[in-house]
Amino acid sequence: MGNELIDFVIVSVALLAIGIYGLSVKRNAIRMLFAIEIIINAANLNLVAFGRFIPHSGGQTLALFSIAIAAAEVAVGLSLIIVAYRMYKNIDIADFRSLKG
């Protein structure tokens, strides 16, 4: 192995930070979904990297779980976005203003 654990973890942290930036800045529902996907991928990268360096199979197993769960989550999220688009003709969540208080 030419690469060290720290390299992978740094990339993962960078992805996490980018995801948090996206979630805090973007107001487009689909882009926010992108940001969440990026965070989940950062976590998966972390898991597999730790699992490789321990070495232990649990990291890969958990990464598989998390990938499958991300797929389920995206399916639900996108169907919510489609419903919202049908109603508002828009995907910008700053324009959804029926709830206030």
Binding site: M32, A42, A43, N46, L62, L80, I93, F96
Partner: protein
Amino acid sequence: MIELTSTPMILVAILGTIGLILPLIYIAKNERGSNAFYATITFGALIASIGVVIFKILTDNVLPSALFSKDVLVDDTFGGFFAIALLIVAIFTTVGSYNYMKNKGNPAVYYSLILLSTIGMVLIAYSTDLVMLFVAWELMSIPTYVLVGYIKKDPSSNEAALKYFLFGALASAIIIYGISIAYGLTGSTNISEVIHGFAVLDANMVPLALLSIGLFIAGFGFKMGLVPFHMWLPDAYEGAPPTIAALLAAGTKKAGFAATIRVIVLGTVALNMDWTFALGIIAVMTMTIGNIAAIMQKNLARIFAYSSIGHAGYILIGISIAPFSDIGIQASLFHILNHAVMKGAAFIAVAGIIIALGTSSLDKIKGLGRRMPITALGLVISLLALAGVPPLNGFWSKLMLFGAALDAGPVAPWAPWLAIAGVLNSALSLAYYAWIIRKMYFEGETEKRISEPKSVIAVMIFSIIFIVGIGIFPDPIIQFAGTAAPTISLSASP
């Protein structure tokens, strides 16, 4: 390997089978079946499972207290306690939906999702492995994203669902990041091994462990509605169908506390970290902001949403002082059960009001005491219990919480302040609860009585009996909470 006959696996078997069969029946049947048909099946399944849990606990087939095992699940009293509380909430939701979901479309999937979400919540309380915890967490969350947006024609329902989904997905992403760090530090996902690993960590690795615990607090905090992470909560609870809001406020939030107790409390103890003070500050902030914001609301569902934020703060008192006081966790558990019933009943009452009046706005419920006497009575009782008026159950659990805080005083000098903040907040909350009661009973002209939804009446009667009954005889439940509470001091020295 965990046996197939242990409580969690039986629950998965019962609820999962029914949950998967319902949509299949819907597809297979020609006339599609009515709401009542599916509600009855769901109700039966939930009653059967709660029966199983109680039977298992009464026959002493269950391990005492909160234990750890070498497996992903453990069949202990802690899980059983939460299972009972959460199944009661699920039953409330189902029964309330019997009238609420009439003619709303797609009943089969609705009930099936409630069942799936219930499995998730219950298994969180039973799980002793981070992977299991995460998967159960998602099983709890994903169906509720759908359920909150279930009324597709209603823009507010959809908006609520979208916000809830985005924050929920962020929360789970954060949790899995936390798990990844914890796994990396200890090489295992089993919670007991993680905690033992944390306890023997090198000094230079400790900041990473703290980061992991912090991520867990943030992730679980989103679901529990702790204060920096609470912004989605009022919108979601207001926009969601009120029955589902009951499930969220009384169910998923409690499951979040179960996860917290399983992971964070024990993890922090293992790290020998004084996180209790930070948790205490979060507790005070949570209850204060929740209660102050609740005063300014004009909508019943929104008021209850903020009030449930406030109650998350009360529960957190007990958790934050857990290492210093023997009854901290016990009081928290007791309050969790009480709050589940009280808040569940309150939201179901809102559902009844919406069925009858079409709105839950505070202006429209004038004279409700004469128009819908039983619903109003149930609402009043649960409001008084939420405020902590003796001799209702909320009084006893709050008393225990504040007592525990005072009890911890000698060790942690800041702990009594928590009790003071709690008492002040309770007084504050009584103000807006009284405002609602005044609206219902002392305003508006005498109007005709309107028919109340039968299922809501059933929930109201049950909750009145429960609240008053426990208010008068609190001892058995307190004992039960005591057996379910984990003993913190033991696991501090692994």
